[in-house]
């Protein structure tokens, strides 16, 4: 935890007033209850009802940085008279509240992809720079969680601007960056005591202790390989839906579509996934990944081989959503355990 900023305490009774103040200057996005068991990050209004307790939300906040559908440009006319109008980047000041450490790290992985190459993605960049991430330490792991196996922690701060820790009647507030400091200024906080600091340490340690690493990440990364017989075994069971990719906080592949009307049209991008057969389907009919075996290999290799080779970091932060929501119990932890065990 950063010692650069003083540790603060926010009484829970003051949370509502803080959120209302943030709403004046920011778009506020937080975890809301869609159903009894489904929680999503959604924009909230003047009476924010946030679901801040329990395991991490069902859906990650990814869509607020990389929307599922996003217009890139519109066009009018045709031929020499064709006119393109680029979509204005969205730089609305935004606070994403209650971000779990796995999801904040995941946004760092998206930064690698969209900001870490020669070409920067202007839409992602604008949103990212306008967004402040208020984290919430995990006290309750969900059953698919494995952040500590991939270098994370239930109280990790990577990518966050501040981290809240629930201490019952109050939140401990750790400010981590200048934007976080600016945000914290509008909260009615008091200085944290030595007792508060101790309670936070104990809670973070307890949460981490509930999540022992499940596999040797380095060994798994060394052994993920093109010819593994495992791909066909995974594929046999895989139904080729997009649940794992669309819930994944680091999956970022998209399709681009033109929708044309007689007067013009629109080009947008939308989430896509290597698990769909049409993802690599060529116009002339050829498909370089003809079966689910190649598609299973692609998703795992992209996260645990290709991104590692390109950026030195795996494209997985152990949120476990793919584990829990796979209709046929394909468990990425078991796949990585198997690769990790191969070298021994």
């Amino acid at each position: 935890m950063s010692d650069q900023y003083p540790q603060r305490i926010l009484p829970k009774a003051a949370l509502r007033r803080w959120l209302e103040r943030l709403l004046v200057s920011h778009r506020l996005v937080g975890p809301v209850a869609d159903t009894e068991t489904v929680t999503s990050y959604r924009p909230v209004g003047p009476e924010p009802m946030l679901r801040l307790s329990g395991p991490r939300p069902t859906v990650s906040p990814k869509a607020h940085l990389l929307p599922q559908t996003e217009t890139l440009f519109t066009f009018q006319g045709s031929g020499p008279a064709l006119a393109l109008t680029a979509a204005a980047p969205d730089a609305t000041p935004t606070v994403v509240f209650g971000v779990r450490p796995c999801d904040a790290r995941a946004l760092r992985r998206l930064d690698d992809v969209f900001l870490g190459r020669t070409e920067r993605d202007v839409h992602y960049e604008n949103r990212r720079q306008a967004t402040v991430l208020v984290g919430l330490a995990c006290a309750t792991p969900s059953w698919g969680c494995f952040c500590t196996s991939v270098g994370g922690s239930p109280a990790g701060t990577e990518g966050l601007d501040m981290l809240l820790t629930d201490l019952g009647d109050r939140y401990h507030v750790a400010v981590l960056t200048p934007p976080g400091e600016e945000l914290a200024a509008s909260a009615e906080t008091v200085e944290a005591t030595a007792n508060d600091a101790e309670a936070v340490r104990a809670q973070h340690a307890e949460a981490a202790a509930r999540m022992p690493p499940e596999f040797e990440l380095e060994a798994a990364l060394r052994n993920v390989r093109w010819e593994a017989p495992l791909w066909a075994q995974v594929a046999e069971r895989c139904l080729a839906c997009g649940v794992c990719s669309f819930l994944c906080p680091t999956c970022h592949c998209f399709d681009m579509q033109d929708e044309v009307t007689p007067d013009g049209g629109v080009r947008f991008r939308c989430w896509d996934t290597c698990q769909f057969s049409e993802f690599t389907q060529m116009g002339a009919g050829h498909n370089p990944r003809p079966t689910q075996t190649e598609r299973a290999r692609q998703r795992v290799s992209h996260k645990f081989k290709y991104l590692v080779e390109e950026f030195g970091r795996a494209g997985c932060t152990g949120c476990g959503r793919c584990v829990e929501r796979c209709p046929v119990n394909i468990d990425i932890r078991a796949i990585l355990r198997e690769f990790a065990g191969e070298g021994q």
């Binding site: 869609d34 159903t35 009894e36 068991t37 489904v38 999503s40 329990g54 395991p55 069902t58 859906v59 599922q68 559908t69 309750t140 792991p141 969900s142 059953w143 969680c145 509930r210 046999e236 069971r237 139904l239 080729a240 839906c241 997009g242 649940v243 990719s245 669309f246 819930l247 399709d255 579509q257 929708e259 947008f268 939308c270 989430w271 896509d272 769909f276 049409e278 389907q281 959503r321 584990v323 929501r325 209709p327 046929v328 119990n329 394909i330 468990d331 932890r333 078991a334």
Partner: protein
């Protein structure tokens, strides 16, 4: 029901060892104690991987067309709902009758795993034991406790009217008693249908707005076997890939209409939906229409002709001139 698990293994071993089938589709231990995973058994020595317990929730019929295309005969461990799906696949010529061996298991219902969670709402680290009958033993940070499967029954199982397979080549075990909600399978959808139309419109709009178009519902559905779904058709494109509530509504409504008179209410679509969309309510409404108007239930008789697969001049004309 431990005897049932043994019966499944014995029959699988016999069918594989004698060469009567190439493969047995069943359930194996999952990665956590409250999930099973589909199993594809081809060698007699692997049959002991097969399990039977209150977590055998997947409808394995979804794998059958591809398994049969791969060659040989295929045996499937089938609950009542799975067997109905297989009947539908046979009727619709997706699976030749002689290529499938239905291993019928009388089903007393599957457990809703989310209802096993402790006070903190998490299943993390939970240990689950099953007494082989109707009781699950649970142990986690909150301590040890037990629940009956009936107490934590999945809603689709509670409403199931055909928990004993209607068609089986080998029936493993005695017929199971009727499920508690079987007498009133339409009570919940009727309550929804009784609401004013504007209220229903708003309700469904709010539901489909959550859809992320992952198509898990479609992928898990044994009746959704189109090689190219209308939603994926690229030339011409029938539906936009832009994820709007209108497009999602077209998908869910379109899928429901395609399933009218074919859906067997296995509820897999709703189980696998990550967003909690009550998809099977749509299917159940249409199932009721088909029952009332055509006196037909899907997936019970492979010799029957589904209402949407035929036409008779005297057929009712829902929404037609005489009803308007």
């Amino acid at each position: 029901m431990r005897a049932l698990e043994q019966a499944v293994r014995d029959k699988a071993r016999e069918l594989l060892a004698s060469g009567q089938v190439r493969q047995v589709l069943g359930y194996q231990t999952g990665s956590v104690p409250f999930r099973t995973a589909p199993a594809f058994i081809q060698a007699p020595e692997d049959v002991d991987r097969l399990v039977w317990n209150p977590f055998c929730t997947n409808n394995l019929a979804v794998y059958l067309p591809a398994a049969v295309r791969a060659g040989g005969r295929v045996a499937v461990v089938a609950k009542g709902c799975d067997a109905r799906s297989i009947v539908t696949l046979i009727q619709e010529h997706q699976v030749p009758r002689e290529r499938v061996v239905i291993l019928g298991v009388p089903c007393t219902g599957m457990a809703e795993t989310t209802r096993l969670a402790g006070a903190d709402g998490s299943l993390h680290g939970i240990a689950v034991t099953w007494d082989g009958d109707g009781t699950l033993g649970l142990s986690d940070a909150d301590g040890a406790r037990s629940v009956t499967v009936q107490d934590v029954l999945q809603e689709r199982c509670r409403l199931c009217e055909h928990n004993t397979p209607a068609l089986a080549d080998e029936m493993l075990g005695e017929a199971a008693p009727p499920m508690p909600g079987a007498a009133e399978p339409f009570a919940a959808v009727q309550a929804l249908a009784n609401r004013p139309v504007e209220e229903r419109r708003a309700y469904w709009r709010a539901q489909v707005e959550r859809c992320i178009r992952c198509y898990a519902c479609r992928a898990a559905c044994p009746a959704c076997y189109c090689r190219t779904c209308f939603m994926d058709k690229a030339a011409p494109r029938w539906a936009s890939k832009a994820n709007t509530a209108d497009e999602s509504w077209m998908f869910h409504a379109g899928r429901a209409f395609h399933l009218a008179g074919r859906c067997v209410e296995c509820g897999e679509c709703e189980r696998v939906c990550p967003m909690g969309i009550p998809i099977s309510a749509l299917n159940r409404m249409l199932d009721r229409e088909v029952r009332e108007r055509f006196g037909y239930r899907a997936g019970l008789d492979p010799e029957s002709v589904p209402p949407l697969g035929t036409f008779r001049p005297e057929d009712p004309d829902p929404g037609g001139a005489e009803e308007r």
